[in-house]
Amino acid sequence: MEFVSPEGLRLDGRRPMEMRQIRGEIGAVAKADGSAFFEMGNTKVIAAVYGPREVENRSQQISDQALVRCEYTMANFSTGDRVRKPKGDRRSTEISLVIRQTMEACILTHLMPRSQIDIFVQVLQADGGTRSACINAATLALADAGIPMRDLVTSCSAGYLNSTPLLDLNYVEDSAGGPDVTVGILPKLDKVTLLQMDAKLPMDIFENVMQLAIEGCKAIANYIRELLLENTKQLEYRRGP
């Protein structure tokens, strides 16, 4: 099957190095301490952050740090076929763990000892790159909640099909069986916090694909930064003189 046409267009009309349209919204859930809605093409996720609050289970309390918990769930109608077991299955548990460890690396947990920060991500529509969309949404939600962080965390995926590196795979491209590299970075510090790849790839091509994903992450970071700046201006304006 041809994923990149001879003219250099992908199945949805994008160029190989073009990302899908991204859109983020802060404050999607009124009841949460911080929340955000993030869209990457047709993948739509909502993230809500509750915390820092009291630890639910006293035995899990850490005396010098905050406890970070994360739960990733997919809505029943989020994929093409109705999902029977939206959480508690292996994939959801693995992604919950990945998101937790990624965010934990950048939250300044030592500032909030004996407390708990809950990050809940709900996938409303899945079209590839849910992991990345969830991390981006979680970053926005944590910023909205005012939780101190070292840096933003942004994430993007890239692949390699028909001998071309492709940025931001959608579901069809992801299920094609080619390699799928997901990268999460701290943009200002220029450090990689998440790196996952499946399928085989020669080392030199891997470098290219990873670099492409990092560029994608940086572009998302710029967008997120603008969004947060705009949001802060709105808050300042509403607060008055």
Partner: protein, 303 residues
């Protein structure tokens, strides 16, 4: 953060917030004496309601309903199944209501919300008993194939009146529903015809080409009210629900007939007159909701 050294205005502001947390009932009663509520609504008015159809592109029918801050996302997905022997000409509907942890600080993984199964059952009973959907319309081939409609409703933000918002979202999702086109393939099984199979179209004749939308008769709409002493508050927020616990939910259909009445106990005992007042408030609300739904449907058609 407000410090105690700032001018008198700010420190009295902090006292109001503290008063609200420490003595919530007295705080609300101060407003009720003036026939108004803390968010400046008169007692009988519901919060701003909005509806958006087609929120989930991958579902066959979907809607996003917001009443104030309470947000519900409903989506219908259709699957083909074999009908049971007792009712070979009827399809079936399965309704599920979820409250994921994002919706409220009180819901945590491992500690699910108390209201979720209650609202789920209420919704299921109301929709099936209201006769909104004729199950015979969901039949494809008598005795062999029928539609199973899975309606999933997710609460994205829980701020009171969960049942009202969920019912509105469910009704809107069914109004938006487009039944997929199916045809019989060689094995005699019913398959969904996808738009890509251009070559196959000549051999497989669609079984239900003409009929793509359900005819919905008598749409149910509801209003939840709270009874407190002799006040009746329509469309409570989560804060009001937690302090004044007597809820009455009235469901009327679009022709004004009573579909269901639900008063699950509570400290206030209501006279029949109070229930009549609730029904009157619901009647007004049904008019509002009908016009909101029609507007949302016509917006979709313009697109």
């Amino acid at each position: 953060m407000v410090s105690a050294n700032v001018s008198g205005d700010l420190s009295s502001e902090m006292e109001v917030d503290a008063f609200r947390r420490l003595f919530p009932l007295r705080y609300h009663e101060r407003f009720l004496l003036d026939s108004i509520r803390p968010d400046a609504r008169p007692l009988g008015r519901a919060r701003d309601t909005s509806l958006a159809l087609g929120a989930v592109a991958s579902a066959d029918g979907s809607a996003l309903a917001k009443i104030g801050c309470t947000t519900m996302l409903a989506a219908v997905k259709m699957e083909v199944m074999t009908p049971p022997k007792e009712s070979p000409d009827e399809g079936s509907i399965a309704i599920e209501f979820y409250m994921p942890p994002i919706c409220s600080p009180l819901v945590r993984p491992g500690r699910p919300a108390e209201e979720a199964p209650v609202v789920s059952k209420q919704l299921s009973d109301t929709i099936l008993s209201s006769g909104m959907i004729n199950l015979k319309e969901l039949s494809l081939v008598s005795g062999k194939a029928a539609w199973m409609a899975y309606l999933d409703i997710y609460c994205l933000d829980a701020d009171g009146s969960l049942f009202d918002a969920a019912l509105l979202a469910a009704v809107a999702a069914f109004s938006h529903l487009q039944i997929p086109v199916v045809s019989l393939n060689e094995d005699g099984r019913v398959v969904v015809v996808s738009e890509e199979n251009e070559e196959g179209k000549s051999e497989k004749e669609p079984v239900n080409k003409g009929k793509r939308k359900l005819t919905l008769s008598s749409l149910p709409f509801s209003l939840t009210c709270i009874l407190h002493k002799n006040y009746i508050l329509a469309d409570p927020t989560a804060e009001e629900e937690s302090i004044m616990e007597t809820l009455v939910t009235v469901v009327l259909d679009s022709s004004g007939q009573l579909v269901s009445l639900y008063k699950p106990g509570g400290p206030v005992l209501a006279y029949a007159s109070a229930v009549q007042d609730c029904i009157a408030l619901t009647r007004q609300r049904v008019k509002e909701l009908k016009s909101i739904l029609n507007e949302a449907i016509s917006d979709m058609e313009v697109d």
